[in-house]
């Protein structure tokens, strides 16, 4: 049995700068894996490398044992990698439903079938009540939900969430944590980059801490938050975990 997602020795370099250095991780079905670290640690870059948006210098990525290292982002999406973007990117000229319809069309060519998938995703992300609203008019919390719904209507096997919680107020944050928690029940594997420690502690089964592109700690949320190396890394950045 293969892990849902495996990454071995990932290296990403921009010019002479090593943004991600030799990162290895593995993620099982139904698991929530947290990726944390101070700003500029290379979390989003690693994310982009795994999802196919940043070129990798070295390393191997496999999805359920299948090597996807060389595949472009859209093929990875077709194989079951869903992702959200840190800066949400709704298709602004379209309504919420239409936005979610686009990934739903991937596996269903008929509009009525695709709409059914899209509505399910809207329900799961808690934004079905806004289905007919133009997406450009949504507030931040709803844009985040739309982002999640878009990723879900792809019917992914592994879901990448890039700072989905950032900037949410406490009630919205609690709701979003609730949505993400229910996702894994069907076996979906989730990899999340997150700054909000509350979400990390409540959701993640396993956490990896990055600083300057290197892995500095790994373990359960409790283990890593008490790790002196982690605290030092964050203090250096004056962006302490648990701050928020």
């Amino acid at each position: 049995m293969h892990a849902a997602l495996e990454a071995e020795g990932i290296v990403v370099q921009f010019g002479g700068l090593v943004a991600v250095n030799d990162i290895t991780l593995s993620l099982d079905e139904g698991e929530i894996f947290g990726l944390i670290g101070p700003n500029g640690a290379g979390k989003t870059t690693l994310f982009n490398a795994l999802t196919g948006y940043a070129p990798m210098r070295r390393g191997k990525v496999s999805l359920f044992g299948e090597d996807i290292t060389q595949l472009p982002a859209f093929v990875r999406a077709r194989l079951g990698i869903g992702r959200t973007f840190q800066i949400e990117r709704p298709f602004e000229e379209l309504t919420v439903l239409e936005n979610v319809l686009i990934p739903a069309f991937l596996h269903r060519a008929r509009r009525s079938d695709a709409e059914r998938v899209a509505w399910d995703a809207l329900e799961q992300a808690g934004i079905a009540d806004r289905a007919h609203q133009p997406s450009a008019d949504l507030n931040l919390a709803r844009r985040r939900r739309l982002e999640l719904a878009k990723a879900l209507s792809l019917k992914p096997k592994v879901l990448f969430l890039d700072e989905l919680m950032a900037g949410l107020n406490p009630p919205a944050l609690a709701e979003m944590i609730g949505f993400v928690r229910t996702l894994t029940k069907s076996g979906l594997a989730v990899l999340m980059v997150e700054h909000i420690m509350k979400a990390v502690v409540e959701l993640c089964d396993h956490v990896m801490v990055l600083a300057s592109g290197e892995r500095i700690a790994e373990g359960s949320p409790e283990q890593v938050t008490n790790d002196p190396k982690v605290i030092e890394a964050y203090l250096g950045d004056s962006d302490e975990p648990g701050d928020r």
Binding site: Y53, A73, F74, A77, R78, P103, H132, L154
Partner: protein
């Protein structure tokens, strides 16, 4: 739904037009072709978001294919038109493969350059096109005894062409390809996350757009019955096609049609005042549209309608 009924009514009314205005057929044919080209252009320019200023090249390929095949080999015009469409699709494929890595204005500039090069080819390669002296279309096979040079027959051919193009686009707009094109237009990265290959979608849009423009070009060729590279592969024609769609409303099924109607009527109204300077109207309108209605006439109206409808449903 309501717009569907409205358009069906319009189509039926258009069927009777030649009976009511038998002397105003030429301008009507021109309107139908311009609307068809603009709608075809919009598949690439509006739905997939790649603004081309080179579509006259497809008008040229469509009309010249028909003329050369009919004149030299006596091939029936419908096969000629089909050949022109196939050739245009192939041209669009190569063209897109080469230029789609250019973004925004740079893509637009490259389309002008390529269309200009094709115009020079049409002038210089006289063995194929008879060069600057032009090419006559004087005899064509008659389908079911219809004389294709009869203005009425041309009118109905052009009407069918426009109806087919608008119908196809309206149908595409509701389905998978229509949404995939919009996704690519809005954000290529985000569309990749939805499993879409942006290059492939843009190529499909370009090929469809080119082939349908060429079909209109073939009808235009018969309508003119004399082709000259300077008139057909003409930068102002490319500009006219693009601006018609943009003024009417990019990425809307009926915007280009509305744009063509407005512009042809305006050109008629001001014909005496402006004579050959009729592109002045295009210039003034596009400046006004860009400043005041960036989505075009129908686009802005639709944009507001979506919001109104949502506001109404949200209230209860």
């Amino acid at each position: 739904m309501r717009s569907g009924i409205f358009l069906a009514g319009l189509f039926i009314a258009a069927l009777f037009y030649p009976l009511i205005f038998p002397n105003l057929l030429s301008i009507a044919i021109y309107f139908l072709l311009l609307a068809g080209w603009a709608t075809s252009w919009d598949i690439l320019g509006g739905w997939a978001g790649q603004v081309s200023l080179g579509h006259a090249a497809f008008v040229g390929v469509g009309s010249y294919a028909l003329a050369i095949l009919a004149g030299r080999y006596g091939i029936a015009p419908w096969w000629g038109a089909l050949a022109g469409m196939a050739l245009s699709a192939a041209l669009a494929w190569v063209w897109g493969l080469v230029t789609f890595r250019l973004r925004g204005p740079y893509f637009t500039l490259s389309t002008i350059a390529i269309a200009e090069i094709l115009r020079l080819v049409a002038i210089e390669e006289a063995w194929l096109t008879q060069g600057a002296e032009g090419i006559f279309i004087f005899s064509l096979k008659s389908p079911f005894g219809f004389d294709l040079f009869d203005r009425q027959v041309e009118y109905y051919t052009a009407l069918l062409y426009l109806a087919a193009v608008v119908g196809l686009v309206a149908w595409l707009a509701r389905g998978k390809l229509g949404y995939q094109m919009r996704a690519v237009r809005e954000d290529e990265n985000s569309s990749q996350a939805a499993g879409i290959d942006p290059t492939r979608i843009k190529l499909i849009a370009f090929m469809l757009s080119g082939a349908l423009t060429a079909l209109g070009g073939a009808i235009y060729g018969v309508y003119l019955s004399y082709l000259e590279p300077h008139d057909i592969f003409f930068l102002p024609l490319s500009v006219q096609i693009a601006l018609t769609a943009i003024i009417g409303g990019r990425g809307t099924p009926f915007g280009p049609l509305a744009g063509a109607f407005l512009l042809v009527v305006a050109a008629e109204v001001f014909r005496n005042a402006f004579a050959e300077a009729n592109l002045l109207i295009y210039g003034v309108l596009i400046v006004l549209v860009v400043i005041f209605l960036p989505r075009g006439l129908i686009g802005s109206w639709q944009h507001r309608a979506v919001r109104r409808r949502y506001a109404r449903s949200a209230r209860g």
